[in-house]
Symmetry: none
Subunit: 186 residues, 2 copies
Amino acid sequence: MEEAAAGLCSSRVGAKCGRWNPTAEQVKVLTDLFSAGLRTPSTEQIQKISTHLSSFGKIENKNVFYWFQNHKARERHHHHNKKRRRPPPAPTSPVHTDLFVLDHSDRREFPITKLPGIWNEAEEMKRGKKKTLELFPLTSNYDYDAVEADQYKLVRNSPLRNNMVGELNLFDAVIEPPLDLTLGFF
Amino acid sequence: MEEAAAGLCSSRVGAKCGRWNPTAEQVKVLTDLFSAGLRTPSTEQIQKISTHLSSFGKIENKNVFYWFQNHKARERHHHHNKKRRRPPPAPTSPVHTDLFVLDHSDRREFPITKLPGIWNEAEEMKRGKKKTLELFPLTSNYDYDAVEADQYKLVRNSPLRNNMVGELNLFDAVIEPPLDLTLGFF
DNA sequence: GGAGTATGAATGAATG
DNA sequence: CATTCATTCATACTCC
């Protein structure tokens, strides 16, 4: 809709400033960072991002933190059935994206991987500092590309999956109404 | 109102519809499940329900997900608002019925509170849990604790409530006018 | 046809 | 990280 309304709080229209309402610019930066592969920013990164974004509007560190948490989680579930996103960066690969982030006030651009302040696990990994992806399940990269639309949730390694098929398209497996399953209300 | 009158949109009477519009049958099933105590269907449950409901009309998993999400939320606070920005909170009383649900995929019957797949939190609450149960017994012993636990634990452990400003363990507490950083966007 | 309302969808915030 | 709660936005639809 028309988000051109004068920002009462942030970007959205009748925002009731109870909670953070990111501006378009803020979302842009966050999204870019995410697309570039940043998934779980460290405390320092959050601090920097937050500071940077504060120039676009009110924002706190926790907002940034939550944003990434939510964005990542929802990327997996695909609550939306919108456009397909670029596949998540290979956890073990150098994630050397060539994305650029441009500042609208200065028109200068930098490769996102070279931003002085912000960067991600790839860098640190190379230097053997913090992250050791090996410790992670490597976020079992599901085939986001293949699936798409409706699927928004994955069963993952739920202990409940006794008779689960290992790869069954959980959602969107719009097979058909084969079994008049459950509900028993009928 | 909950008018069952024929409408104009998708499920009712064809029209341009950007969003899902449940058919009467779909609503019936969903409502029955809800009144039977189902509040937060698991992934698999959603899948089943969705598949089943698809025989009544177009539907996606996310629709089912949202439906329960919204229905539960609105049950709590009897949306008896007159306008937006309503302040009156309405305490809720969890309703628990003893309806049964049949799982045809397994050909077994269960009281809804004991269904392997479908069930509500009434049970859990009896056992001392606070509110929503946890569907997954947590066998996921990831080892991420070692790696990036610091990032969100600090958030978790702090009240972070409405006034997080007073707490600031690491957030906000971090150096204040961050030196250079500036994300290099400039 | 506009106002008011019911509800689908989205997302920030929070907890385990 | 998974799941859930809360609040808000957007829109279908009813009623006048």
